[in-house]
């Protein structure tokens, strides 16, 4: 009698253990099945998305289209509203980076020109409104809503969803960007890793670095455009260019200002009396 009771208890324990195992297995299978269904068989499909959800390469294409459309219609508020839709933290930096990448890859279609054209227009508009380029660093990202003067005035859906650039006028004034002047020039001889490097820093009148400044480096039979802000670790107003030895270079700013000629990597004497090529550091500032 007692032995029979023990056996019954043991059978019950085994049943409970099996039951727990079945439950766990079922749970795992259910989870896996759920993931397979939601990720593979019927993955979520995004509809009615905004441009800020586009993948990076399409954002670049969208941005370029904004620039070419702006070149055609000269409607800056509309271009700004469109840029805002892309959700870039700094539209001007995104434009600058894209232009720089295009230029580095050869830009056989000349698309960087349109990006630079738009960058200049934004900078001109900002400067004409605030008197300084510092507002370029952070385009407005607040959540105020309203209409943009001159932009999408007949498209209510966009009017109600885009962020206004109320500080920008419909027709940007022709006010000149404050001219950039050379503040200092220094030969760099004590840092071998900066040999042949032409380092440029650009600041506004309040001594704040300015990103997105387009600088033309020219030499006897060519030129190259560089932009400040592409190496934020060196400061957003910084740009550099690797010079060739014994070549004279000129520097000028697309937005106007000082133009410098006959720049070359300096000869730096070392302790053995020989010379090696050094670097050059130029600091520019708006007066």
């Amino acid at each position: 009698m007692t032995r029979e009771r023990r056996r019954t208890r043991k059978d019950n324990n085994t049943d409970t253990g099996n039951g727990n195992l079945y439950l766990l297995t079922g749970l795992i299978i259910g989870l896996l099945l759920g993931l397979v269904i939601s990720w593979v068989i019927a993955p979520i499909k995004f509809v009615d998305t905004a441009p800020n959800s586009l993948r990076s390469s399409l954002k670049d294409e969208y941005r370029l289209l904004i620039a070419t459309a702006y070149h055609s219609n000269d409607n800056l508020p509309r271009a700004l509203a469109r840029l805002e839709l892309l959700g870039d933290p700094s539209p001007i930096l995104a434009l600058t980076t894209q232009a720089q990448v295009l230029l580095k890859s050869g830009d056989i279609n000349g698309k960087a020109f349109y990006l630079a054209f738009l960058i200049d227009a934004i900078k001109n508009a900002s400067v004409s409104q605030s008197g300084t380029t510092s507002s370029l660093i952070e385009l407005p990202t607040d959540n105020n809503t309203g209409t943009i003067d001159g932009a999408f005035t007949k498209t209510p859906l966009l009017d109600s969803t885009i962020t206004p650039f109320s500080h920008l006028s419909d027709t940007p004034s022709a006010t000149q960007i404050p001219k950039i002047i050379l503040k200092s020039q220094q030969n760099i001889c004590d840092s071998p890793e900066e040999a042949l490097l032409l380092m440029i820093d650009v600041f506004d009148a309040s001594n704040q670095p300015i990103p997105g400044v387009e600088i033309i480096i020219s030499w006897a039979n060519g030129e190259e455009h560089i932009f400040t802000g592409l190496q934020p670790e060196n400061g957003v107003g910084y740009a550099d260019y690797l010079m060739s030895p014994k070549i004279n270079y000129g520097i000028r700013f697309v937005s106007g200002g000082v133009s410098i000629a006959n720049l070359a990597a300096p000869d730096c004497p070392n302790s053995q009396g020989a010379t090696r090529m050094g670097g050059l550091k130029l600091v520019f500032q708006q007066p």
Binding site: P43, I44, F46, T49, R55, L58, T68, A69, T153, T155
Partner: protein, 100 residues
């Protein structure tokens, strides 16, 4: 499934132009039309509009024109889209190997 669809919907977050909302699609077409008005490059416009989906590009332009008219876009914008629509309807790609 809640995890897969809501909490972590995988790599589908980076969307394409196909899924753009209707007003954004219309604005995209308008941008192409604005660019086309100054550059006159029909092949480029076709390539850009074709990214909106598998249909014929001219269909997307016609849809955009209808939406723009409904939303009372300016007449200038409507004309630009109309011109693009006309260009796409009469455009035919040059056959491969064609030498004028």
């Amino acid at each position: 499934m809640v995890y897969g669809w809501v909490l972590h919907p995988g790599a589908n977050r980076d969307t394409s132009l196909v899924s753009l909302r209707y007003d954004y699609r219309t604005d995209f077409v308008l941008m192409v039309a604005e660019t086309y008005s100054s550059e006159g490059n029909t092949a480029q416009a076709v390539r850009q509009i074709a990214q909106l989906g598998p249909e014929s590009p001219v269909n997307y332009v016609i849809q955009a024109l209808a939406y723009a008219a409904q939303m009372r876009y300016s007449s200038v914008d409507l004309i630009l889209i109309q011109n693009l629509s006309n260009a796409l309807q009469t455009w035919s790609p040059m056959p491969e190997g064609f030498v004028p």
